[in-house]
């Protein structure tokens, strides 16, 4: 406990506890996985060196600025990000060479060229001025990007472990009541009310009981859980500890994907220091209550995110789901009462206990309270992790936060809910996103993946992609899922490769119906969603593939070749530089051309062209 740093001048968080500390200037360097891929660690080193060179003492508490390495700010595409507090300056795409000017500017005018440019090209200084952040409300992500995940004092100074201390004074029933009052529903996808789950498990006398954090995050295209585990591990540990108090468990597990290296090491470090400081272990905060936490690394199987498969995996068995005649709350891990919650669900718990369930329930909609973190990716101008109140519309997220579609192309669809979800077309952009509304539309909010697609994305190919993923990940235990997916993959591949037949769409619909009715676990039960939702909203596109051997989006390589529209071509040469097989040629002032017989139809030239001069054509037509 000797060399604990004081918290820096962070603006008050949801917990509002940072106020008691004297604001000391602080540089927060984003060192999440995204920014690390862009050399954020080198940048942080460079900032430290530049500060030393400028004669500033960055380590010992003094008046000099502190340099902190934080978790992901959610805007990785514009990383590495550096924030200066308390001045509230945000810099983007910062390179190690920028360290010196940044240090030199402290206390003076900010380094203008590193600020975010607004839609009118104006320079925006504060984070809140940036449209990406302006509409967000951070609850689950409250500390991420503001604290050093490896320094427990940062978390404590931001109000951390206060909720745990409060919960230690409460009875099991009181904790459960508070969580029920909050209306919190599981963020892992299914949306089951968390308080009810805890109440059920608390009601069984059998001991031992277990709590588990589901950090398997299998939805391809989502990274919210990773970000929380990396950037604010103590919030998950605190949430899990409160769950353990509520159901009287003394042992807990965190099941985390093995690919999430930084998340694994930060959680391990956080558990160790929380134990050393008495927030975990054999005598939690002097109360005599116990909790031991253990990390289990996932084996890289999507189905292991399913609750019963996950428990089988922790037990050292093959991760196959079982039929849920008996709930895990009664007989879960090793046949004992078990509560399993998602990472984001748990990160909300400290807020609820500290501020009261009623306060949490004021946010969001009546049936879906609180906020939700989404991973907004695909063809939007601003991609990243965002947190908004439940009930925000798709349009708000895609246009106000995401800044609309790249290159102002028309919006085509947004895919939500990953392999269990569906595609939502333009006409439904004003839908409020919560647990129930999207379900009613055959999509699903799911764990929060939100993939935006434009007219250059083929909906049949999207369906094929999800079915392929599910076919590979189906555990094979039950026939409808195993065989259904295999057949659907064959049919969809045929359609995308020009071998589709009349009747294929109806056959797909029949397989979907069987899988939904007869599969054992939710993987198989919901696998129809990507297929049925694309058929429902984009039937024309399926028909074009089957009837005309044409891919209207110009994506499916077997059906597509690219040609250059001589009228529109400005001979800029962008297409030629982009072509990986070097078959686009031309010269100044003469329109370019593509050797279509060698074209691999990758679309690189079309993506590169700023004048829409590259056109996708039906292969049969050109050949």
């Amino acid at each position: 406990m000797s060399e604990r740093t004081t918290v820096c001048g962070t603006p008050p968080t949801a917990f509002g506890a940072a106020t008691a500390v004297t604001p000391r200037r602080c540089l927060l360097v984003c060192c999440g996985t995204g920014c690390r891929a862009n050399n954020a660690m080198g940048l942080a080193d460079a900032l430290e060196a530049a500060a030393r060179d400028a004669g500033l003492d960055v380590t010992v508490s003094s008046d000099a600025p502190q340099i902190k390495r934080t978790g992901c700010n959610g805007f990785c595409e514009n990383g590495p990000i550096v924030k200066v507090h308390p001045d509230d300056i945000s810099y983007y795409k910062v390179k190690p060479e920028d360290a010196e000017p940044i240090i030199a500017s402290l206390g003076n005018e900010p380094v203008a060229r590193l600020l975010y440019r607004g839609e009118m090209r104006q320079r925006l200084t504060r984070q809140i001025d940036n449209p990406f952040y302006a509409h967000q409300q951070k609850l689950a992500l409250r500390n991420i990007g503001e604290i050093d995940p490896l320094v427990i004092a940062d978390y404590v100074a931001a109000g951390g472990y206060q909720a745990l201390k409060k919960a230690l004074q409460m009875s099991s029933e009181q904790i459960v009541e508070e969580v029920i009052a909050s209306g919190l529903r599981g963020r892992g996808g299914a949306g089951f009310p968390t308080g009810i789950k805890w109440q059920t498990a608390a009601g069984y006398p059998a001991k031992p009981k277990y709590v588990i954090c589901n950090g398997d995050e299998g939805d391809p295209g989502a990274f919210m859980d990773r970000s929380i585990l990396e950037g604010d591990p103590h919030s998950v540990i605190e949430g899990l500890t409160i769950a353990a108090l509520a159901i009287q468990a003394e042992q807990g597990f965190l099941y985390i994907r093995d690919e999430y290296g930084l998340a694994l090491s930060n959680i391990a470090a956080a558990i160790a220091v929380a134990e050393a400081d008495g927030y975990l272990g054999d005598d939690i905060c002097g109360s005599g209550r116990k909790l031991r936490l253990e990390i289990v690394r996932g084996g890289g199987a999507f189905v292991c995110g399913e609750s019963t498969a996950l428990m089988a995996s922790i037990e050292g068995r093959v991760g196959e789901p079982r039929a849920k005649y008996v709930r895990s709350a009664e007989k879960g891990l090793w046949g004992q009462p078990t509560v399993l919650n998602n990472v984001e669900t748990l990160a909300n718990i400290p807020y609820i206990i500290l501020n009261g369930g009623a306060e949490f329930a004021k946010i969001g909609t009546a049936g879906s309270t609180g906020t939700k973190v989404f991973s907004l990716v695909g063809k939007v101008n601003r991609t990243g992790l965002i947190e908004v109140p439940m009930g925000a519309s798709l349009r708000h997220m895609i246009y106000d936060i995401g800044g609309g579609i790249k290159r102002d192309r028309p919006f085509k669809a947004v895919q939500t809910g990953g392999p269990s979800g569906g595609c939502i077309p333009e006409g439904q952009l004003d839908l409020a996103v919560d647990f129930d509304t999207l379900d009613a539309e055959g999509a699903m909010m799911g764990s929060g993946g939100m993939i935006v697609m434009d007219e250059h994305d083929c909906m049949v190919e999207v369906a094929r992609y999800y079915v392929k993923l599910l076919a590979e990940e189906s555990c094979g235990k039950c026939t409808p899922c195993r065989e259904g997916l295999r057949q659907m993959l064959g049919i969809l591949t045929d359609i995308t490769e020009g071998r589709g037949q009349v009747g294929d769409i109806e056959l797909l619909e029949r397989i979907c119906a069987t899988m939904t009715a007869a599969s054992l676990c939710a993987l198989g039960k919901t696998a129809a969603n990507p297929v049925l939702s694309t058929i429902r909203h984009f039937r024309d596109e399926y028909q074009a593939h089957i009837r005309d051997r044409s891919c209207p989006a110009g994506v499916c390589p077997a059906l597509t070749v690219y040609v250059i529209d001589a009228e529109k071509c400005t001979s800029c040469g962008a297409c030629s530089r982009a072509c990986p097989v070097g078959i686009v040629s031309g010269e100044k002032k003469v329109p370019y051309s593509i050797q279509s017989e060698k074209c691999i139809a990758c679309g690189s030239c079309r993506d590169a062209c700023r004048f829409d001069a590259v056109i996708a054509m039906r292969k049969e037509e050109v050949a």
Partner: protein
């Protein structure tokens, strides 16, 4: 921990390396997956001789261990290359051209997904979302993340790893 293990492969036998891993865990069934994962990390696959040793330690049948080794994607019974190229085929990356990158890597390395080059230098894997979708398309070589990868830059990136190996190895 990792250093300790890699030393074992240089100086000791395979069995010695495996023993070292096994002894880090109590002899219970629930540690089977963790042990297999560590063996995979160390040897880049699960050598056949590992199975009986693990079996004796955790007390499950060889069949059950093979079931794990074939069920979990992270485990492999055949050797992987020195450098493992993981190409993200999560949704965000897929839409931004994973298939094209896969084709280009195929041309550069002469292998398809789940294959290893003849010289044993590279393995190619398609993986689900690696959690950096904002940088799509993403490729991970060993532990280095490469974001916004283009087809044009692939051959050069691959050469860098090939060269690095040549320089660093003393075989």
């Amino acid at each position: 921990m990792v250093d300790e293990n890699s030393k074992a492969t240089e100086t000791g036998s395979v069995a010695e390396g495996i023993h070292r891993i096994i002894l880090k865990y109590p002899g219970q069934r629930r540690y089977s997956l963790a042990i297999l994962q560590d063996v995979q990390k160390e040897f880049k696959y699960i050598p056949e001789e590992a199975i009986p040793l693990i079996k004796r330690h955790v007390g499950v049948s060889e069949g059950q261990l093979y079931a794990l080794a074939t069920f979990y994607k992270a485990l492999s019974l055949t050797p992987k290359g020195q450098h493992i190229i993981k190409l993200c085929d999560g949704t965000a990356c897929h839409l931004r051209g994973t298939n094209n990158l896969l084709g280009e890597l195929g041309r550069t390395l002469g292998i398809a997904a789940d294959e290893r080059t003849v010289d044993g230098k590279f393995s190619l894997e398609l993986v689900n979302c690696v959690g950096s979708c904002a940088l799509a398309p993403v490729m991970i070589v060993d532990d280095d993340y490469h974001g916004k990868v283009t087809m044009g830059q692939l051959p050069q990136v691959i050469e860098e790893y090939r060269d690095e190996q040549e320089g660093g190895s003393d075989e």
